[in-house]
């Protein structure tokens, strides 16, 4: 009997052993999981906790400041979680773009021939990737961003309309208006024509058997047609008859709305010009701590730029008392920020120590200062809900009357002055009036950011929480991307560069046509996994107080006790995100794969 025909007993047959092993494994798995699930079910029943998803339809009662779509506290848990998911995407998408830009820049800098630049980039990479992200988030949030000027009324106004304070960053932004519909057909036409141009250019290239770039043609076509449409939307613009603007100058609030048949519907992003002939505003001075420094006797008026009014006048509400004490104003930033001081050496300006009140050895706090503006004018764009806000001016006469009233009253606490009560006591009929005018718009409107009272209005606003998380994620991930880029560029064989130089390509051409495309092939897959890491790392948002998916999910879980459904939802959402990334990764890999013959 030859060996080949020997009968292998079944217990030594590899195939059968395999089947048996799997069978045993399945039984063990099912038994184990069964016991665990049973445990969970009994425990949930004992603790009376929800085990299904029915809680999602109940009102959540979770306030979320940061939201991409409308949300109210009374909305459901499902909607709260959706807001969280969108917030995750918001930080992830912006973060990926910025991290790539900075990471590529740092990666290239690490290969610079300049020793200083190279070393700087190395230090950046080594330091940032070796410090936990959690530490970096807290660092950005509580050590860098929160110590920014603590009052919204004193933001740092940067060039280009940027405003930064510890509430966040606001900057001018383009918004679609009620005339956006005029532009839509052009956009569709532009997209169609771009496709046609792309197809035509590709055929032409193929016909001529030429190598060339396809993309400039469709891109230019799209830009020209879309630009034409945008331009045309500005032609013959006028204000629709049913568009109204109601403005209460005293409260500094206004609403833009479409009024049809007596029913009003808010009109979003409508520019309105407001003009107030003469108005006043009273502010109390305060002693503050800002960026580790004492700020003494500081008076902060709403941020008004000098060009927005013809004249500014400043006076102490209680002029007699101020004169008695010798108080004077010294402007740090005209016309919005001033310091109260006493000119002890008589040189007419604030010197060191002159802002300290000898009586309290602190600054001159709680002194009311009145600002009076002449011909204040501002063009604002209403927000998504049609709301407009301006500084809450009072009629100049009212303020004067109130000041008289107050000086007559006994001065009790100077810190929280009695101005508010006095004003209500002497409310006069001379209500503040303003001239308003709705301005015509095209498809888009450029909205500037302002600080009328206690929060940003207009423009695009990013909270300090979002900024902290974004900055930390971007900086942390960019260190890893820099390493990937550096490795990718180094991995391109030296001969490629030499050959490119030998056939006469310039340095830039060598990089953009020879090195970069080949480095891309190596760089992209690990880069995409870094993008996924960034997205997953955004779950540390709670450290910056940003309401991201995981943060909201844990709040929901704490409120409802629905730990199991929430866990499943979270795992599901993250799997969807991961899967989306791996689909992209596979596509990229397929496109980049070397075509081997």
């Amino acid at each position: 009997m030859s060996a080949s025909t020997a009968v292998v007993p079944f217990w030594r047959n590899v195939k059968i052993i395999g089947v048996i092993a799997q069978f045993v494994f399945v039984i063990a798995l099912v038994a184990g999981v069964g016991i665990l699930v049973n445990n969970v079910v009994t425990a949930l029943a004992k603790a009376n906790l929800p085990a299904d998803f029915s809680f999602l339809g109940k009102p959540a009662g979770i306030p979320i400041a940061e939201r991409a779509v409308p949300y109210q506290v009374t909305d459901t848990y499902a909607r709260a979680l959706l807001i969280g998911f969108l917030n995750t995407l918001k930080v992830a998408v912006v973060g990926v773009v910025l991290a790539t830009v900075i990471g590529v820049l740092m990666g290239v800098m690490r290969l610079s021939s300049n020793w200083l630049v190279r070393t700087m980039a190395s230090v950046y990479v080594e330091v940032l990737r070796n410090i936990p992200l959690a530490v970096q988030i807290v660092f950005w949030y509580s050590a860098v961003l929160l110590p920014f000027p603590p009052r919204i009324s004193d933001p740092i106004a940067l060039p280009g309309g940027l405003i930064m304070s510890n509430v966040g960053l606001a900057f001018p932004f383009l918004y679609p208006t009620y005339r956006f519909g005029v532009w839509v057909p052009y956009l569709i036409a532009a997209a169609v024509l771009a496709c046609v141009a792309w197809w035509w250019r590709r055929r032409a290239l193929a016909k001529a058997d030429r190598v060339g770039s396809v993309w400039p043609f469709p891109v230019v076509t799209f830009l020209v047609v879309a630009g034409l449409g945008l331009g045309l939307s500005y032609v013959g613009r006028s204000v629709p008859g049913d568009l109204t603007f109601t403005f209460e100058a005293d409260r500094g609030r206004g609403t833009t709305a479409f009024v049809v048949d007596g029913k009003s519907r808010p009109a979003a992003f409508v520019p309105v010009a407001i003009e107030i002939e003469k108005a006043s505003l009273t502010v109390s001075s305060q002693n503050l701590v800002e960026s580790r420094q004492d700020v003494r006797g500081s008076v902060r008026f709403p941020l008004i730029s000098e060009s927005e009014a013809d004249a500014f006048e400043f006076a102490f509400a209680d002029a007699e008392a101020a004169e008695e004490r010798g108080l004077q104003l010294s402007f740090d930033k005209y016309p919005s920020i001033a310091t109260i001081y006493v000119d002890t050496n008589g040189n007419g300006k604030l010197d060191a120590g002159e802002d300290v009140d000898p009586a309290t050895s602190r600054g001159y706090g709680g002194v009311d200062v009145v600002m009076t503006v002449t011909n204040f004018r501002r063009t604002l764009v209403s927000d998504r809900d049609g709301q407009v806000r301006t500084p809450t001016f009072k009629h100049a006469d009212d303020v004067a009357a109130a000041a008289v009233e107050e000086s007559a009253a006994p001065r009790a606490g100077t810190r929280f002055s009695a101005f508010g009560q006095a004003a209500t006591a002497t409310v006069s009929e001379s209500a503040l009036t303003a001239k308003t005018e709705i301005q015509p718009v095209g498809a888009l409107v450029f909205s500037r950011a302002y600080v009328p009272v206690s929060n940003y209005e207009g423009g695009m606003r990013l909270t300090v929480n979002y900024l902290a998380l974004l900055l930390a994620l971007v900086v942390y991930t960019s260190a890893f991307i820099a390493e990937i880029v550096r490795g990718g560029i180094l991995a391109v064989p030296k001969g490629q560069r030499e050959a490119a130089r030998a056939i006469g390509l310039s340095g830039t051409q060598t990089f953009s046509l020879i090195i970069f495309p080949q480095a891309m092939r190596i760089v992209l897959p690990p880069m995409i996994s870094q993008y996924l890491n960034l997205t997953k790392n955004s779950s540390l948002a709670s450290l910056a107080g940003y309401a991201e998916l995981f943060v909201i999910a844990s709040v929901v879980s704490n409120q409802t006790g629905a730990a199991i459904p929430i866990a499943l939802l979270l795992i599901g959402s993250y799997l969807v995100i991961s899967l989306a990334f791996s689909v992209v990764l596979n596509q990229v890999n397929a496109r980049l794969a070397l075509v081997e013959r």
Partner: protein
């Protein structure tokens, strides 16, 4: 007539270095000046903050919290003894490998760190005045033993095993009261806790290898189970697993929530999470082993198990040692996420310290100081590991053979 040639340009020396590295061409010269301004500005601000503006008293006063959190002072000799034994074991390894070995390269800076702390302890911390130097001495004792009797390395795995058990017993204590009085787990914290959680990478090794082998298995059930486990775990962030573990582990195991301390839940989550990543690293190594190795082993008559354990795995693991060190760095940083389950690790202590009443008295708060300190400590260890990883990469010649 031949024109005299200009003298050759000096190709060494400081001025040549400057010209080559900083001022070769107008673009680079501009770049150098811009970079110099940026560097000078950053360094000035940093130095100004560290030496002038910063108030470091709050960090200094709370060193014990940073180190061990609420671990009782009278028992502090126990964690430090565990640390000393660990240093001793590392010392044996380093001593046996010789002064130029990678282990020694990692061991000596850590000893340096301990030495600095020892000096500070002798000067300022009476409760641990002799304990830190003791740990230092144990480390050097190990180094001496290792270099004197290099063959003692053979017993090291046993040493580490014993250390894990003894270390745990030392920390938790055995009796109620007395020298070995019990210390509840919730009092463990600070850097001690960070290190304990970091040891989660040790059990993740065997689990990760098993998962990697399972993923390469021909048996579909086992293969897809492993793929499912690895991908699901890797798909979601660690912070979510910590959260889920802290909520669900007591439910799943049907035990009272109080009988399962948070540190255990976090440990389980960290170990399993780390195991999934470990599995992917090991799988990369398995793919790098040429097929012929396995086939040759089978041809020699080794069984499937022998082939895997003796031929394939050693080669696979050797190829991925740098990747594993990279993962260890990642885990070391990720231990900072345990704040989510209410544990007070090194990072979380920073939070506590910066809101203490004394801290709030300081104008502007002390967050910057506290988190700068924490960042420096994390950086020291993580950077040291990444240097070791790079040396390993070179030494092993990964990608060169």
């Amino acid at each position: 007539m031949i024109q005299p040639r200009p003298a050759p340009v000096k190709s060494h020396g400081f001025r040549f270095w400057l010209r080559k590295n900083l001022f070769n061409g107008p673009f680079n010269t501009v770049l150098t000046f811009v970079a110099a301004v940026v560097v000078a500005w950053s360094l000035y601000n940093l130095a100004n903050f560290i030496f002038v503006e910063g108030s470091w008293g709050q960090v200094w006063r709370n060193m014990r919290l940073f180190g061990v959190y609420r671990y009782p002072v009278e028992y502090l000799w126990r964690p430090l003894l565990a640390l000393g034994i660990m240093l001793g074991l590392m010392g044996v390894m380093a001593g046996a490998g010789g002064r130029k070995s990678i282990v020694a390269g990692a061991f000596l800076p850590i000893q340096g760190f301990v030495a600095v702390v020892s000096i500070v302890a002798i000067l300022f911390w009476p409760s641990v005045r002799f304990l830190w130097p003791g740990a230092l001495v144990l480390g050097f004792l190990g180094y001496f033993i290792g270099s004197r009797w290099p063959r003692s390395v053979k017993y090291l795995p046993w040493g580490w095993g014993v250390w894990l058990v003894v270390g745990y017993l030392l920390l938790s204590g055995l009796t109620t009261g007395g020298t070995l009085g019990k210390v509840p787990v919730r009092d463990w914290g600070g850097f001690l806790l960070t290190l304990i959680l970091f040891t989660g990478i040790i059990p993740s090794f065997p689990i990760g290898i098993a998962l990697a082998l399972g993923r390469n298995s021909k048996l579909p059930v086992i293969k897809y189970f492993c793929i499912g486990f690895i991908e699901v775990v890797r798909g979601a962030p660690l912070i979510m697993w910590l959260f889920i573990a802290s909520l669900l582990l007591p439910l799943i195991l049907n035990v009272d929530a109080n009988s399962l301390p948070a540190i255990m839940r976090a440990y389980v989550a960290i170990t399993l999470f780390s195991a999934a990543y470990m599995a992917e690293n090991v799988r990369g190594g398995l793919q790098a082993v040429p097929r012929g190795q396995g086939e040759a082993a089978r041809a020699l008559g080794l069984s499937a198990w022998q082939t895997t354990l003796l031929i394939v795995l050693p080669q696979a693991l050797r190829a991925v040692i740098p990747a594993i060190v990279g993962q260890a760095i990642g885990l070391f940083k990720d231990t900072s996420l345990v704040f989510i389950v209410g544990l007070v690790d090194f990072f979380k202590v920073g939070d506590i310290v910066s809101v203490q009443p004394e801290a709030l008295l300081v104008t502007g708060g002390v967050k910057l100081e506290v988190f700068l300190f924490i960042a420096v400590i994390y950086f020291f260890f993580a950077y040291r590991m990444s240097i070791a990883s790079r040396q390993l990469e070179k030494r092993l010649g990964v990608g060169e053979r």
